[in-house]
């Protein structure tokens, strides 16, 4: 293949360049690869496609997935079907943003650097924390990094992890803990929220932190202040994971005693995209600033006194500190951090409150409907944000129910039996501002009809 739309090399270019190098053929440039490891075959994969063929192929693959544009989704569990303001894809398509690397040359990267600085500011405003970084891979890895930070900051290795934290985030924390030598102790739940008595009993002077999520995986709102009191009395840190959109309604973790606030910015204008890319955020109290993982942008001035932005506090990072770095993260989720910032710019002070309120009211309405629907009941009494757990009619097969809901045009909630065996026959249902009263009514009726 010597002609391709992304490759400029002509036969003439190739001849001239080889001559300049003093090589007679391209093969000469690979003479340093031992014959024993030279690959001589043709890779076994399908052949090149033209642009129209490839576009058609991609559309065909995409068309075999049932998406939240064609179906009405009540599925959340960490990834929510919110309205994405129309301006977002326009701004994210500016290729000056998306085709740039990490802003190593600040003079020609002021746009990205300012965007990150604004993202950090947004995360501080939302969480009530003093400082935030440029982003993490996702909420789950951010939580794992928070556990690592807590251990390093306290010099302790035991971490209490509430069982109401997203199961996948817990799984990531546990994987990371094996590498870092952390001991993870899970705290049970009671009535849909962290069992504070158990937390009290398990808290000791050896704990680095307690990790709680609010709204938690069941959608219930945790009393993170009470968790904080317990862990702080033992000299540990309070690490909270939160849904940033809920912070239009719920108190900022920074005002409830959080030392580290993390979460996933997916609700802020990021499409679910089978779970990624989303965007983790990481915010801490001032005391923990220099222990943060990842990129951080700071404001400074140029030599003429003009305001500008640079990557800063780099003495924490792998390219300087190598094995002594606070984390190995470098590439993060900058483009999605930009997405979250644009979302918050669009929603503004009033819009974030309004959208949070609508989520809350619609979920309350849906729960009220479920509570009175024959065969259905609510699993927990604790207050929730935009997601709650429904107990399904006895003997319901989750697979059959999902299939039936799809048939009726709904993407149903998540059946909890795999992650919480005691909650088999329960469904976690999310209701965002996108759901109309009619859709909610139809969905609940469909579930109840068995």
């Amino acid at each position: 293949m010597n002609k391709h739309r992304y490759l400029p090399m002509t036969d003439e270019d190739q001849a001239e360049m080889l001559a300049a190098i003093g090589a007679s053929e391209i093969e000469d440039l690979f003479a340093d690869i031992p014959p024993k490891v030279r690959y001589q075959g043709t890779l076994r994969m399908s052949g090149a496609m033209s642009e129209p063929e490839l576009l058609q192929h991609m559309k065909e693959l995409a068309g075999r997935n049932r998406d939240a544009e064609r179906y009405t989704s009540f599925l959340g569990a960490g990834l929510y079907d919110h309205h994405i303001p129309v301006v977002i894809p326009h701004i994210l398509s500016r290729s000056e943003f998306y085709t740039a690397y990490t802003p190593y040359q600040p003079e020609i990267s002021q746009g990205e650097l300012q965007a990150i600085f604004e993202f950090q500011s947004y995360m501080c405003e939302l969480t009530g924390m003093k400082v935030a970084n440029a982003s993490m891979y996702d909420g789950a890895t951010a939580l794992a990094e928070a556990a690592a930070l807590a251990s390093a900051a306290t010099g302790r290795s035991r971490v209490l992890l509430s069982s109401t934290v997203h199961p996948e985030a817990r799984a990531v924390v546990k994987t990371a803990a094996r590498g870092l030598g952390l001991e993870i102790v899970e705290i049970g739940y009671c009535g849909g929220v962290t069992d504070l008595n158990e937390l009290e009993n398990m808290a000791s002077d050896e704990i680095a932190a307690v990790l709680v999520q609010s709204p938690n995986f069941f959608g219930c709102i945790e009393d993170i202040q009470a968790c904080g009191r317990i862990v702080h009395a033992r000299g540990g840190l309070l690490v909270t994971s939160c849904n940033p959109l809920s912070l239009g309604l719920l108190e900022a973790p920074g005002n409830l005693g959080a030392d580290v606030a993390v979460g996933d910015a997916q609700p802020l204008g990021i499409p679910a995209s089978l779970g990624g890319p989303t965007c983790g955020f990481f915010a801490v109290s001032e005391a923990l600033m220099r222990r943060m993982p990842g990129r951080i942008v700071g404001q400074t001035v140029d030599k003429e006194g003009k305001r500008g932005y640079v990557l800063t506090l780099q003495a924490r990072e792998q390219h300087i500190r190598r094995e002594k770095a606070t984390s190995n993260i470098c590439s993060n989720q900058a483009l999605l951090a930009l997405c979250a910032s644009v979302y918050l710019s669009v929603m503004g002070k009033a819009g974030l409150q309004e959208v949070a309120k609508q989520n809350y009211c619609k979920a309350r309405y849906a729960a009220g409907r479920a509570a009175t629907e024959p065969g259905l009941s609510l699993a927990f009494e604790a207050p929730f944000f935009n997601e709650f757990v429904i107990k399904l009619p006895e003997g319901t097969s989750p697979d059959d129910l999902s299939a039936k809901l799809l048939q009726a045009g709904y993407i149903g909630g998540l059946e909890l039996g795999r992650e919480y065996p005691e909650l088999a026959g329960h469904m976690l249902v999310a209701v965002t501002e996108r759901r109309s009263k009619a859709e909610i009514d139809g969905f609940i009726s469909e579930m109840g009809a068995g």
Binding site: P103, T141, G276, P277, G298, S345, L406
Partner: protein, 485 residues
Amino acid sequence: MKPDKALIFEMSRPGRVAYSLPECDVPECDASEDIPVHLLRSKPAGLPEVYEVDVIRHYTELSRRNFGVDNGFYPLGSCTMKYNPKLNEEAARLAGFARIHPYQPEESIQGALELLYTLQQDLAELTGMDQMTLQPAAGAHGEWTGLMLIRAYHESRGEKRTKVIVPDSSHGTNPASATAAGFETVTIPSNSKGLVDLDKLRAAAGPDTAALMLTNPNTLGLFEEQIVEIAAIVHEAGGLLYYDGANSNAIMGIARPGDMGFDVVHLNLHKTMSTPHGGGGPGAGPVGVKSRLIPFLPKPVVSRRADGTYYWDYDRPQSIGRVKAYYGNFGILVRAYAYIRSYGPEGLRRVSECAVLNANYMRMRLAPYFDVPYPGICKHEFVLSGKRLKAYGVRTLDVAKRLLDFGYHPPTIYFPLNVEECLMIEPTETESKETMDAFIDTMIQIIREAETNPQLLLEAPHTTIVKRLNETQAARKPVLNCTCG
């Protein structure tokens, strides 16, 4: 002087809105009747109040203050700043990819699962490995995942191996990932040719060696010619070989890490597979392993049933667990898949041939003007040393800053650490000879300037929106957010 660009927070005027939501069609409810008052927001978040035109103009202006591959040549070594095909962007935005949820029933996402499965197969074939996981979100994340796999492998054999060996030319992420995976790093110096010093490796390898992490071609752009011997030394000591795939743009269809003896590989899809860097992510760092490490892969893995349907395989009792929520940066994986399909096997090989030819051409043309610490053919990138410019009081940093005035993104500078005043240049295959020639001519001109008017370099850049920034002040007195809210 143009005034500073306002922050979005500074543009706020009370009463303006940019959002639009339908009226709430369910009964209003009062949260304070339900949620304890101390858990309700006491003071709204200080978000700006702007209207839609403000939002568009603000971010459009920010984008104009940024430089991407679409703006011009970006020979940032080790980062493979190739063109990001637009078809791939369109594909990833299709609702059937962008608006699907990982917890949907498997039968409702068969197209996505097929794509993931095929990508796993293609990447395994490309690297010569037996099985891939697509979960890791970036290169460093892949490294850490790979090291956790290596750890699990040794532990399963009842062996306690605590050390990871890296050459001094390695990426900083290698030792940082080793630490996060609970290993101690042993750094070995490179030999005079810039390659792994076999004697030093032999001395370092032993019963406590968990792995050697290696980039091949290495960060100097040189192929480790003694890779077969290197692999033998590590394997004989009972360790495994880890391949840092940051530089795989040099070897697609030409040499495969699996054939070189590597046991674990990660690829940076945001480098080799053309997915955009996004200004610092998202990336994707799939990891491939040889068969003996398959049982430890993160779960789930996408598998195919005899009837041709696809499913998430969770039945992996020896798995290291999850490394990320859900199944990786799917949107990036879609782009990488489309990229592979656009080239096919011969095309991918041609990509690497062109990348290597371009790098050698630039190296030959620039060699007379710089010190070339490691002469001889390079692969997809090469390093130069700017140390002779010190005679004029000029450093590599100044050359880089001067390049900004000519509309180029500079090469990587001061890496790898074992080359004084290093410049690391990676043109990639998507740049034309004219583009490279123009850049080379500019570099030659800058050298002349250094000789005749070094001040021009020392004060560069002259044409950018801000001049050199005070990084010391930024670190000493950190201002990390505005408190305008």
